[in-house]
């Protein structure tokens, strides 16, 4: 049974920069926002540490934050959430695969985006290894 990390927080309305800052951090981590209310991440050593620091940081900013480790009561929700995480990275991978088909591609830029996405690919999407293989073979062509 997978364990999830949940984060719920409130920040003062102003300055709005703080809200944007926290939101961007969560996006960068690859977290999913459920019903505009609760952020979800899989419970991994790295994500757990980041949620711990985010919680402290939000409190330091004068906000309120609660974070939990949680298991779904209905097991089927796990699969739905996992799919959402996969869809999130697959959208980017699909875009990268499309770009890789073009005759003149910026391999450096694509590899940068690939690495960023791979850091959020918690459930090892199949498309991720496709992008990786494509990048490797393209790199070979350049020689």
């Amino acid at each position: 049974m997978p364990t999830w990390l949940l984060l719920h927080y409130r920040l003062p309305n102003k300055p709005s920069a703080l809200r944007v800052y926290i939101w961007r951090k969560l996006k960068r981590l690859g977290a999913i926002l459920l019903h505009e209310a609760v952020w979800v991440l899989p419970d991994l050593p790295r994500t757990a540490e980041q949620v711990q620091w985010l919680t402290a940081e939000i409190q330091e900013m004068g906000g309120k934050a609660y974070s939990w480790r949680a298991n779904s009561i209905l097991g089927q929700d796990d699969e739905t959430i996992r799919q959402q995480f996969n869809e999130q990275v697959d959208a980017i991978y699909t875009d990268l695969l499309k770009k890789l088909e073009k005759p003149r591609v910026d391999l450096q830029e694509i590899s940068r985006q690939y690495q960023q996405t791979a850091a959020q690919d918690f459930f090892h999407s199949r498309l991720g290894s496709l992008v990786r293989d494509k990048l490797k073979s393209k790199r070979g062509e350049k020689l």
């Binding site: 800052y21 961007r24 951090k25 960068r28 981590l29 050593p45 540490e49 980041q50 711990q52 620091w53 919680t55 402290a56 940081e57 409190q59 330091e60």
Partner: protein
């Protein structure tokens, strides 16, 4: 003096321990308490524990806080703080490719160590090596 942190040290705390030993308090003694356990003043100066003085602030890691607070002025250490920041915090823009590798190695070091005391010795060796090489590569090296 006594220093206190949570068990299972990783990239930031290994770096902090190394920094404390080499630059702040050579006689430092470290105690490791369970994750989530409240620190008490008698046990030592807490670091890298959420809510404590020496911890993450404004998106910077604890290594950065220790360096800033103790007014240590060494460009190599500033560079290492940047690396630890990128390894241990969420960053929009990254400048240090070594960060991810260092994070992985420190996590792995803890895995193959008996306890945090063994891990900290090994971690210090890694940071000694990092410091030596960055110094060698720096523009001011002889």
């Amino acid at each position: 003096m006594k220093w206190l942190t949570w068990k299972n040290i990783g990239v930031d705390r290994m770096g902090c321990i190394w920094l404390i030993r080499r630059w702040i308090d050579p006689q430092a003694e470290f105690t490791f308490i369970s994750s989530g356990e409240k620190s008490s003043v008698n046990n030592g100066e807490p670091f890298d524990i959420p809510g404590e003085h020496y911890s993450h602030h404004s998106g910077h890691c604890t290594f950065y806080a220790l360096l800033a607070e103790n007014k240590i002025n060494d460009p190599i250490l500033t560079r290492i703080a940047q690396i630890v920041d990128e390894a241990d915090e969420v960053q929009e823009v990254t400048l240090e490719p070594a960060a991810l590798g260092l994070d992985l190695i420190c996590r792995g070091l803890r895995q193959i160590s008996r306890d945090d005391f063994e891990a900290l010795e090994r971690g210090c060796l890694i940071y000694d090596a990092l410091y030596a090489q960055l110094k060698m590569d720096s523009p001011n090296s002889p």
